[in-house]
């Protein structure tokens, strides 16, 4: 399996990278999605722009109560960096479930979200975290929420020539409970369904609930209906079941040889309940 020939560029600055991106080039980060597609000739870009020499894209830093993660930060770095594990454990949890160690060593958060596989793990976490994605283009920078960024299967709000440069997530307040629960398709490691949950309890009641879902539909989404049902309750078993029951409502569930639409919707309800229980347990 040999890719179609292409021009290979390794720009040394972001401006140079953006210049090279004009005219339909493909950005190469870790290559864990793009290279298999090129080998299968499902993608045949004439030009590939490798971002590995662009400075500043592989930093993890805190500012303004948020964790700022460069686009070239790898899954392994996210799962193993103490600052991420303590500051935003949900993101570390999601990163740790991706593929296998070889994939996590090379694969990057920026590359994964720009690819927007409907069964990828990050989108569930980023929806629940209300992540903000920073995008650079020839005309300047813009920011958008995860909810705006993920549009459909393999489709984001990125315009041609734009690059993801950073994703920022909140540094969790003490007492926030989080969990990522995933039903893994064993051959590929992708999620049949994955659910990320964040909860905060105050005075014995759920004061904040955030739920992100991947794998079920064409795009990841935030399940606002589940959140609304849970907030204000004591977060008991019946509350969890009632809230989780509506997670797939109004969504057109994916269907393939691994899972029918009905089964995926069932899995979404089961894994939402598991994620909420685990997050509530952690929130105390």
């Amino acid at each position: 399996m040999i890719a179609q020939n292409f021009e290979y560029e390794t720009p040394a600055t972001l401006d140079e990278a953006l210049d090279l991106m004009e005219g339909g080039a493909k950005a190469l980060a870790g290559g864990m999605s793009l290279i298999p597609l090129m080998k299968l000739r499902l993608a045949a870009p004439e030009k590939v722009v490798d971002l590995r020499r662009v400075p500043g894209l592989n930093s993890i830093r805190t500012a303004d109560g948020r964790l700022h993660i460069g686009a070239m930060v790898t899954h392994y770095e996210l799962e193993s960096t103490p600052l991420v594990r303590t500051g935003c454990p949900l993101l570390a949890m999601a990163a740790a479930t991706i593929g296998d160690v070889q994939v996590r060593n090379l694969g990057t958060i920026g590359g994964s979200i720009a690819h927007a596989d409907p069964a990828a793990d990050y989108p569930a976490a980023l929806q629940a975290l209300e992540a903000v994605i920073r995008i650079a283009g020839k005309g300047g920078e813009r920011r958008m929420s995860a909810a705006e960024f993920f549009v459909d299967t393999f489709t984001t709000a990125l315009e041609p020539g734009e690059l993801v440069v950073e994703t920022s997530v909140p540094l969790e307040a003490a007492g926030t409970g989080v969990s990522y629960q995933k039903c893994t398709q064993p051959a590929s490691g992708f999620a049949l369904v994955g659910v990320a949950a964040r909860v905060i309890k105050e005075g014995g009641r759920v004061s904040l609930a955030r739920v992100g879902v991947t794998g079920l539909a064409g795009s990841s989404y935030r399940a606002g209906n589940v959140e609304t049902l849970l907030v204000g309750t004591a977060g008991g078993e019946e509350d969890v079941k009632k809230a989780a029951a509506v997670v797939a409502e109004g969504k057109e569930a994916n269907s393939d040889i691994h899972a029918s639409a009905d089964y995926r919707a069932h899995l979404a309800r089961v894994y939402t309940a598991r994620a909420l229980r685990a997050a509530l347990g952690m929130a105390g």
Binding site: N5, E7, I35, P36, V101, Q102
Partner: protein
């Protein structure tokens, strides 16, 4: 258009002109003559082509040789020093960690990554660490035993 690349492989400098589409596994096997890393599935699932690049285990069928420009690659051939097998190689031998041997070079390179990061893994951690490497002969138990044995010897 071909690109000039220079990389370290098992401590030796290699320089050459390659098409950007040449995969690292093909460079290693066909240009550098190192046939230890195997081509198994060619779809980045089986792990037979695992080598380390700057100390990180990667599947060399999912990386272009041009991406390894300026980097330090180690293949299974680079593990033994002065003719002495690496403790993982000895352990795979002693514990019967190989049957047909096809997955073994990749399995050992992935195991090395695991022990570099976690010198004393438990059985679950070992299985997690070699999740990206498929073996169709052993049923994995002897491989897990080999990694355990190597960890014990390396820690001693």
């Amino acid at each position: 258009m071909k690109r000039s690349i220079t990389l370290q492989i098992n401590g030796k400098t290699h320089t050459g002109e390659v098409e950007p589409r040449l995969l690292l596994i093909h460079y290693l096997r066909e240009v550098a003559g190192l046939t230890g890393p195997h081509i198994g599935c060619e779809t980045s699932l089986c792990g037979a082509c695992t080598v380390t690049v700057d100390g990180k285990a990667v599947k060399s069928c999912a990386m272009f040789a041009v991406q390894a420009d300026g980097r330090d690659v180690v293949t299974i051939e680079g593990l033994a020093s002065n003719g002495d097998l690496h403790p993982l190689q000895t352990a795979f031998w002693e514990e019967h960690g190989a049957q047909c041997g096809y997955c073994t070079p990749g399995m050992i390179m992935a195991s090395k990554q695991l022990l570099d990061r976690n010198p004393h893994p438990d059985e679950d951690e070992i299985r997690h660490g070699i999740k990206g490497n498929l073996c169709r002969c052993t049923g994995y138990q002897h491989i897990v035993n080999a990694v355990k044995s190597a960890a014990a010897k390396m820690g001693a």
